[in-house]
Symmetry: C2
Subunit: 357 residues, 2 copies
């Protein structure tokens, strides 16, 4: 992970303002510790940030125990207001409570905060061996529409349909984000992933928008890759790719596939970008209820996501320091948690990171 990869931000007015203040003032950021192992890994982030003297004051919000009518979900209106006000947030895993009449927590956040791009850097961790070396790619996923429209009907008994919606506006927006990201992060190529040979209208429109934006970035190589072929190439030779941009469901699939190449969702950061410069960084792994409260969880994904939040705030020195400490701790290998084959507790691992700061 290079310094630039964890900066999901192109310079927004918000982040410039923050950068300006950051030497002196405390920055408020929303923290959703989430469920299951969430509170433990959030604790790890708080400890590391404190040890690194990061000038952040957390506004902690938990998932409510009843449906808030204003959000139609267990997320409270106040917690969403907190992210809107602060402009930045960090989110642990949230298991959507089972039952009817409410929306998934993740989808509610994306929708209510208009988090239109999901950025996931995926890089081999030095010293942590998988089948792949030198993976270094970024998936940028359209995060608001496509197969996630929620529009589904029973046509007649035994025949159901789901609608995939692609709009010019959302496609241009995420394409613009991807090319700007590539340009500002020293990346050379953007690959648009699609299945326009089958979905000519929807994926066709997505590609058309990508092409339009590509024309404005002649210094970035642009290519189009069919999703099935992309997945085959990714497992054969991920070094063929640099920045990938794609509609919602393909992004869901490919970002997890890529995470798998370097060790899984426990090791990869994620950041959601919204209109107006909002950034909500998040660990995308599950809440692992089986090991919750046992001090066994690996906080790496949340820590690296927190680093991407710092970069969004232009706090690059702090971000570098923390990121290096995380990578060093993993590379050394003697303080790894159980998921990485070690026997360290969450606390051991966190302390080791603090020692490396």
């Amino acid at each position: 992970l290079s310094r630039s990869d964890l900066n999901p931000n192109h310079t927004s007015p918000l982040s410039l303002a923050r950068a300006f203040c950051s030497a002196t003032a405390t920055i408020r950021a929303t923290l959703f510790p989430g469920d299951g192992i969430g509170p433990e890994i959030a604790e790890s982030v708080k400890q590391v940030f404190q040890a690194a003297d990061v000038p952040i004051e957390w506004e902690e919000h938990y998932v409510g125990d009843q449906i808030d009518p204003r959000t139609q979900s267990f997320l409270t209106w106040e917690s969403l207001e907190s992210v809107r006000r602060n402009g930045v947030g960090l989110k642990g895993p949230m298991a959507t409570p089972i039952g009817k009449g409410h929306r998934s927590l993740n989808l509610t956040l994306r929708k209510e905060l208009n988090l239109y791009a999901n950025v996931r850097p995926c890089s081999s961790l030095p010293g942590y061996k998988t089948r792949y070396d030198n993976v270094n790619l970024i998936t940028i996923r359209e995060n608001t529409e496509g197969e996630y429209s929620g529009l589904e009907h029973q046509v007649v008994r035994g025949v159901v349909e789901s609608l995939k919606i692609i709009t010019r506006q959302a496609s241009l927006r995420v394409a613009e984000y991807a090319f700007h990201y590539a340009k500002t992060h020293g990346r050379e190529r953007v690959s648009a992933i699609h299945k326009a040979n089958i979905m000519q209208k929807t994926d066709g429109l997505f590609l058309k928008c990508c092409r339009e934006v590509a024309e404005k970035y002649p210094e970035i190589t642009y290519e189009e890759v069919v999703i099935d072929n992309c997945c085959m190439m990714l497992v054969k030779n991920p070094a063929l790719f640099d920045v990938l941009v794609m509609p919602n469901l393909y992004g869901d699939i490919i970002s997890d596939l890529c995470a798998g190449l370097v060790g899984g969702l426990g090791l990869t950061p994620s950041c959601n970008i919204g209109e107006g410069g909002i950034a909500l960084a998040e660990a995308v792994h599950g809440s692992a209820p089986d090991i919750a409260g046992k001090n066994l969880a690996n906080p790496t994904a949340l820590l690296l996501s927190a680093v991407s939040m710092l970069r969004h705030l232009n706090l690059h020195d702090k971000a570098d320091r923390i990121q290096n400490a995380i990578l060093k701790t993993i590379a050394e290998g003697n303080h790894r948690t159980a998921d990485l084959g070690g026997s360290a507790t969450t606390t051991d691992f966190t302390n080791a990171i603090c020692d490396h700061l």
Copy 2:
């Protein structure tokens, strides 16, 4: 590849009849050599079949040079009739000609012949090293509906939609095929791949049908895996899977991903199963126009597909003999084609297989 894996068939009346005749009579099978490298790799199949004394007489059909109004594509009505009459066929790569007003050749075949299940065994080839050892799984893809409905509209300017259609009938049919396949091929587990957490109605119906069928096969373990998680698990540890069954697009994606694990589409067979016991085996790789006519193509995918056709006809002795010769030739390594890092021509490779018969 075990003997059973290349038999995509559950005992259909057709194949029983064929088995009965096969000792004495010649069997007619349709052959679509296809475009690009198609004719060369089809030649290889013909040569190997002849050397192994396979009692098959090929009815060769080529893609036409104008649209046949009865098929709305460049495939002739006669060629489809040939497959219907023979009940079995083998197909090389077909590049759909560019232009408007006709249907994709692959989709026309699936639709016109009602090829409802696409079966792709995916196994590590002994002696051919990739990042993965001991891959041994089967993807079974619903092949007629889902995201391939062809139903797309512009709602208003800049807003387009594609319809994904899932029916109870097609879902039950492919689920039944998958469980029967598992049972008759000594497989222990069927995993249904879905995204029902988002597409509750469509993928939800697919899962409901799989569950119904699973109840009839208590000896087969049944599980449900979300597609993003499935792709991550596949790249981390493909040995977790056995038989996978899924809607059309997920099958398109996952079957290519799995092929990538063992070396790519040039090495993996595919067979399409239709109502009434039709089987159309096919190489699913491209037509590679850049090397067409140069005697450089690797015929393995088409050869292994031809083997699966033989198994469909219950010609297991011939199938075993040919399959072993192919695997031995690849394992030995001194007659590999360029795509596998060797310098053998298609003819060299084919001759080596014949020598191993």
